[in-house]
């Protein structure tokens, strides 16, 4: 028998763990401070950009995984949620290649 929305909500409520949101916040705050510090202290452009991109992706990943609870969702939803990242990767690669080849 098909599940109704109420049954789904009830089962999701019973199964979902609650991560330590304050600890995640502490990580986000520290990473933000590191970002600003990096931006003003590292002067090698490629190193600065690489470090900032990694830091930003880490922060975004923490929010999506723990605050949006994607880490605790079922596999089909995780696939749907992460699918656009493939298109983002294609666009980013195209821009990078276009810029590299244009030189």
């Amino acid at each position: 028998m098909a599940e109704t929305q109420a049954q789904i909500a009830e089962s999701a409520h019973a199964a979902r763990p609650q991560p330590n949101y304050i600890r995640v916040f502490a990580f986000l705050a520290v990473l933000t401070a590191v970002e600003v510090f990096t931006a003003f202290t590292i002067h090698t452009q490629w190193l600065k950009v690489s470090a900032l991109v990694v830091l930003a992706i880490t922060k975004a990943g923490l929010v999506v995984a723990y605050y949006m609870h994607l880490r605790f969702e079922k596999a089909p939803l995780r696939i749907i949620a992460l699918a656009p990242l493939i298109l983002v990767f294609i666009l980013a690669s195209a821009l990078f290649l276009e810029r590299t080849l244009a030189r």
Binding site: E3, A39, A56, V63, L91
Partner: protein, 197 residues
Amino acid sequence: MAHASATIEANPSTIPGLSTRKFLMWLFLASEVMFFTGLIGTYIAIRFGGAEWPIVSEKLNVPLVAVNTFILIVSSVTMVKAYAAIENGDQKGLSRFLIATMLLGITFVSIQGFEWLSLLGEGTSANTSLFGATFFTLTGFHGAHVSAGVLVLVFVVLQSLRGRYTLENHLGIELMGLYWHFVDVVWIILFTILYLI
């Protein structure tokens, strides 16, 4: 409206074990990812395509915006704490954290408004340069998303004060949280690209 909501609640899910409304929210957010990717891609193509660009740290008030970024991150914490509160059946906690989230959202938009006015006062607008055009477009669309979120939050706060959300029925809070955190994620990327690189 009530009939439509009741119909959705009674319908079986699209994916087994997954609420249809939550599935639709994630689909909406997926489309939003592509929307902002298009804008950010355009920004990168213009900025690194040889356009004349100011020294960002001199043109923009990075310390102020770093504080604003921190405010938006704190608003994500209060939003998720609101969700945690109603997951434990704490309706008063839900309302308190929702109100805090709403106020933090208003603060974020206000500081962004102050930043815009400062730039406009210095003669930088969307019409004066490619930098201005891309900066105001990106921050404008993001600010519009935060503002829309604040407006919906006002409605959600009023509903929470009326006891609309309970331990058994709080999907609306989860959906509100998904949108709010998504807006936070977009800003995390924008802050890095617009202000730090």
